[in-house]
Amino acid sequence: MEAKHVMIMGAGIAGMTAARDLAGLGVNVHLIEKSGFMGGYAISYTCKATTECLQCGACAVERVLKEVSETPEIKVHLSTTVEAVSHDNNRISAQLKKGPFFIDPQKCTNCGRCYEKAPEKTAVLRSYSKNNHPLYALTAESIENHRDFFASVCPEEAIQPNAGVTSETLEADAIVIATGFEPFDPNKKPTYRYCDYPNVISGLDMERIKRDHGALVRPSDGKPPEKIAFIQCVGSRDERLGNLWCSRVCCPYALRSAQSVKNKSPEMDITIFYMDIQNTGKNFPVFYQACKSDFRFVRSIPVDIFPEPDDRLRLRVLDETAGETLMETFDLVVLSIGIMPNPENPAISELFGIELDADGFLAKTDALNQTLTSHNGIFLAGTVSGPNTIAGSMAQAGQAAGEVLKYLGVTQ
């Protein structure tokens, strides 16, 4: 039998898992990633362990990325997008737009010189994982702004400021769509003044601060906060925004992060403002008890944030259990932003001829099978079809790989 080709869209945790599970089973796997790195959002998440693992799954993403990078059967197409698709019987022909590749992966030694000497901090992007190659990526904009610097900085001459876009046609017998989600933009909740106050941060900002500093510090002064507020459901379960879904991951990441922060600084005073706490895993009853003794839980979502001296923040909140309005001041406010549909979903829907659901995610069309779409041979994995955890996305991606094999008639 002629070898089958499978195209996987998106190299986040779901796409990487599907690729890993399909590789080596007699199919050619093409993993298409629009950014310069594999790993998606999940690779930027930090470990939430206290003295023990809290099962956040962030290190599992690192592991899968390593496995994919060490599997030569997976052809990874970085900085690549699908421009057009045509169906011919059961075969799908995709027009790929590739590059520009400003860093030649053959020549780059990951020495980091371009990154360290960069005239602007944001001019060179660096991978969160050491297992991406190259570790660094450049955008057309940074090349444009600093052409002379980039033309001369690399001792290996791996930087090619004049690199252009190429195109390629890829024939595939089946497709897995794993293009992921978009984090909620906190600016859409203007009363939280995310763009005005440096110490109002999103859950994603918290991950980056923890990664860069090895601890949670205030952006305003780089000092550890003494009193932190977490505000849950920012963007999720919000009727006014039309977001009628729970993002599933925010209670787990807020509670786990709070635990890991508290473990490093036991004096930390942490308050969680919430509507309903969602489960974190099967040990939730035990874990939640521990959280209740370590943090203060207030069943109410704050309405406004006001500035105080020393870049502190005052929250106004209606305490439902006490029946009164509270004013309280914190050093740092973390907005637990949720999972939103990828803004490219409508385009993907049109490109591949598959349906969207009422919330703007790609529609799962079978109540008993989470990977099926309205189009034969096209399968879903991960948050492209709705909020999911790392473990849940991996399980769904494994299922999608299995469905692909069944669809292609590939047996062991």
Binding site: G214, K282, A367, A391, G398, Q399
Partner: protein, 550 residues
């Protein structure tokens, strides 16, 4: 001491291709059908005759799915590749993956089968929690399952539409709720609302668990149809009066008591792990997880993998799951079994860990400490090359030093330690870090690649698991001139081999005692836990060690 580090020679062995599925609920049935479809014979043992009952957690699924489930049930009986054994429990399991011997009791008779892989697919159990509220079940106080059953009858629906009753639900007070329980409650509430727009529905609830497909929309739909939710941290007080229970709670916002006498009070149900899970875990030598579910949710493994190769835990045996999630597990298991059993032969490394049969005294320390159940014995200990995960815990624990791990033999490790230390430039503090390849070794490499500060005299020794760090290695490092020794393991609960971190911790504690006895500074030895993505922390720990010993 002998070192046996041979090249990894591949060897072809034949393995049993029969698969045992335990549990006759819809997850077990689906697994049996899916595995049989790939060509392997399946033995489907149903210890609790789950195939005969309708599992409550499935009520409320769409009608078109119901027919799919009925077809599935019928197809099992017609399938020649599936041997269906109702009323059959597991008594004992011996052997390793590819070669398990299963002893069962089938309708009272003893039965023995050889299988290559085992799938555990037990269902959730559901019990009404009326006792906790001090209420006996009656016409007015019903369990959620009872209500769901009643909702299936046209007479009851008609009764609702003519009598417009007040129906109250208690959810999440006696036991932590779940999205699955939430879906059952919302489905019932919406059915009542649909049957009568004048019926009143009240949901007394702790946390609304909406972390599941479409649940926020269902929650809103019920609210829009008039359902009132009272979100309380404590359950309402309940008076069991003769005309029916009276529920009261204080509303702090309107500052008054709210009292309700429902016509029907629906009591929440505990959805708990199957009671036979601990017994199965014991027979199969797999780890229990929290709350009576199987497997520990170790993030290094795929969600359905147990700590033993060839034994998979799926669906409600590992967590409260919806049927679509459980069937995701089925698909993943099927593919893993295909990968494991193949055509009945498997190429494996000649050995991953080798037992020196001259030295082995069959003390069975290795059998007991192997976290993957990969060791059995004839007259001496034998390590299965298929089941072995090459963590090396047995090699480090063997009191006879009879076990050597391929690639990490004792002589090799000692040579590595000496070479590493002799390579450090004069004047620099020599720090030797034993790094688990699943966590700290990755973190250390990342720290170096990202140019995080690291001591000049730091050298990493890669180990397959911190459980492979012998006390002997630690002492050798100190004797051979290391100023500081770091033993870097995974966080508790994050060890790929479950217990490696614990073994490493014990050995470091023992080493502390020894170095104190000989008068060395305790600060020169440190045990830490890290994850692979903690490059910053790796750098910090190493620098701090350097500062301490300087």
């Amino acid at each position: 001491m002998t070192t046996a580090v041979n090249a990894r020679k591949m060897e072809k062995i034949s393995i049993a291709t029969e698969v045992l599925v335990i549990g006759g609920g819809y997850t077990g049935l689906k697994a049996a059908a899916a595995i049989a479809e790939t060509g392997y014979p399946v033995i489907l043992a149903d210890p609790q005759n789950a195939a005969e009952s309708n599992n409550p957690f499935l009520i409320g699924i769409p009608a078109d799915c119901q027919s799919q489930l009925n077809n599935l049930k019928e197809s099992i009986h017609a399938n020649k590749r599936i041997e269906f054994l109702p009323n059959t429990g597991i008594t004992a399991v011996t052997g390793v993956t590819g070669d398990f011997t299963i002893r069962m009791t089938s309708n009272g008779a003893a039965l023995e089968k050889k299988v290559g892989a085992v799938v555990v697919a037990t269902d959730i159990e559901s019990t009404p929690l009326n006792q906790i509220y001090g209420l006996p079940l009656s016409d007015k106080v019903v369990s959620l399952s009872e209500l769901e059953q009643k909702m299936g009858s046209p007479e009851f629906i008609k009764k609702i539409s003519t009598e417009n009753p007040t129906i109250a639900f208690l959810v999440g007070f006696a036991q932590e709720g779940s999205p699955l329980l939430m879906k059952r409650v919302l489905d019932s509430v919406i059915k009542i609302n649909e049957a009568s727009s004048s019926a009143s529905t009240y949901v007394y609830i702790n946390d609304i668990k909406v972390a599941g497909d479409n649940l926020e929309r269902l929650y809103k739909a019920a609210r829009d149809k008039g359902t009132i939710y009272f979100k309380l941290n404590q359950p309402p007080s309940i008076e069991p009066q003769t005309e029916g229970p009276v529920l009261t709670f204080h509303d702090p916002v309107i500052r008054s008591d709210i009292e309700l006498s429902p016509d029907i009070l629906v009591i929440e149900e505990a959805m708990i792990a199957n009671q036979i899970n601990p017994r199965l875990a014991e027979c199969l030598r797999i780890d229990m997880g929290p709350m009576g579910f199987l497997q520990t949710d170790n993030v290094h493994r795929f969600p359905i993998d147990s700590n033993r190769e060839g034994i998979y835990v799926i669906g409600a045996s590992r967590d409260i799951q919806s049927i679509s999630e459980a069937w995701t597990d089925v698909e993943n298991t099927t593919r893993r079994i295909q990968h494991l059993l193949g055509d009945g032969t498997r190429k494996v490394p000649g050995f991953r860990a080798e037992v020196d049969r001259e030295k082995c005294v069959t003390c069975l320390t290795c059998y007991r400490c192997c976290p993957h159940g990969a060791i059995y014995w004839d007259d001496k200990a034998v390590i299965s090359p298929v089941a072995c995960q090459a963590c090396g815990i047995c090699a480090s624990e063997c009191p006879q030093e009879a076990i050597q791990l391929t690639g990490f033999g004792d002589d090799d490790m000692l040579t590595q330690i000496r070479t590493a230390l002799s390579g450090v430039k004069q004047g620099a503090s020599k720090i030797l870090a034993f790094c688990c390849e699943n966590s700290s070794y990755e973190a250390g490499k990342a720290a170096a690649l990202f140019h995080s500060p690291l001591p000049e005299g730091l050298r990493m020794i890669q180990v397959p698991c911190a459980g492979k760090v012998d006390i002997h290695y630690i002492l050798t490092a100190l004797i051979e001139g290391a100023d500081g020794v770091l033993v870097m393991a995974c966080h508790a609960g994050n060890c790929k081999s479950e217990t490696g971190t614990t073994f490493a911790r014990w050995r470091v504690d023992n080493a502390y005692r020894m170095i104190e006895e000989v008068g060395l500074d305790k600060n020169r030895l440190q045990f830490v836990t890290l994850a692979s993505n903690m490059a910053q922390d790796f750098s910090k720990i190493a620098i701090e060690m350097e500062d301490r010993i300087r």
